[in-house]
Symmetry: C2
Subunit: 226 residues, 2 copies
């Protein structure tokens, strides 16, 4: 290997402000690259990668340009290098322990979802307030009482949590996560959480996804601009 050009891999130019949408595309690039590498492909150009995901070549290059220079003119990008660089960017070159709060239907299914491990996330502990659930072991994870959350978070140095409780209990559970020291929350409840500014969150609202389709399929007139 000649020169690994991202001088400080994963380091971001200190004045950079990266649009959210760019970060989400980085995740898509990573996912696709992992597939390509598994299929034995060594290098890829911005236009190939873009075509696979439905983006323009310029978009791919601009997005990567937020974080450094990773390509070889005339050649493209080396899949292995780019995968490593993008995991550095996303922070997933090391494993992330995650807590889950709420072990209902959906929570139990998520405990068994393999995709998290593939991207280096591991659900280390699960919590519920229901005494009937506490003590059970689901998908290899023992369910603990919610009161134990702060101790576990502290002991294991956990920074991320998944919130999988019913809507009416979501804010209170979020407050507990915040109090325990969690810094980022994936919220599966269909409510907008009120959080202190140092805590990040992303929401997954399953019904909203269907509503978007309902709109798209219904409205013959209005084209959805992507």
């Amino acid at each position: 290997m000649t020169d690994f050009r991202p001088q400080q891999p994963g380091e971001i130019p200190s004045d950079a402000t990266v649009p959210k949408v760019v970060v989400s595309r980085i995740s898509l690039y990573l996912r696709e690259l992992q597939r390509l590498e598994a299929a034995g492909q060594q290098t890829i150009s911005s236009s190939q990668l873009g075509t696979l995901l439905g983006f323009s070549d310029a978009q791919v290059r601009k997005d990567l340009g937020f974080f450094g220079q990773f390509g070889y003119p005339g050649v493209g990008y080396r899949c292995d290098e780019l995968i490593h660089a993008m995991r550095d960017i996303l922070g997933t070159n090391h494993a992330w322990p995650v807590v889950m709060v709420g072990v209902g239907n959906l929570g139990q299914a998520l405990l068994g979802y393999r995709g998290f491990g593939r991207q280096n996330f591991a659900i280390e502990a699960a919590f519920d307030a229901d005494p009937a659930k506490v003590g059970q072991t689901i998908q290899g994870v023992r369910v603990q009482h919610i009161d134990e959350l702060p101790a576990v978070v502290k002991e294991k140095g956990i920074r991320l949590g998944m919130l999988v409780v019913p809507a009416q209990r979501a804010q209170e559970a979020a407050d507990r996560l915040v109090a325990a020291g969690i810094e980022g929350i994936v919220n599966f409840a269909p409510v907008t959480l009120t959080l202190p500014p140092h805590v990040q969150s992303v929401s997954v609202d399953l019904a909203i996804e269907l509503e978007q389709l309902s709109f798209a399929v219904t409205s013959k007139l209005a084209k959805i601009v992507p």
Copy 2:
């Protein structure tokens, strides 16, 4: 009631092209309004609604302005009227039957999720290729063999589908949905589907949500611009 101002409720000015992000905020407005109405609130101003969801008042008014005039100057919006109007916009004033393909862990959990019904979606049929699953009844839905998909879709006039199969089978399953006449797909597999242009899709990638948090929490330097 004096005049119901959205002249043709739900009808969209024929030259309108509505940005995707606007439609997703409409869903959020609707969700919040449903909560407010359930709590007994009769009217709401754009700034109140915006504050609850973290948007500006102008944003709320502009978004609604894509679809018509719904407000009363000096007063705000009537919750009940606005809920009705937004359901007209999204197409959810009538119930949507939905098919599910793939009844694994996650699929079974989604079959039991109450949030779909609340927004007027009903999973009418579920399909799997695994003979061990076919014939079971899960959450009140009988699992049928995937080969029966086209007949059921046609018979019940179903237009939307949820794809909940492993990544390596997602494209093939999507092709089956398309062949059966489905027009919109919620894709839970972590792959980008190739679909004909008349078929809409939205993707839910659970690992990507965690990656976004990992990035946000990791990068002290780069602020995520919302």
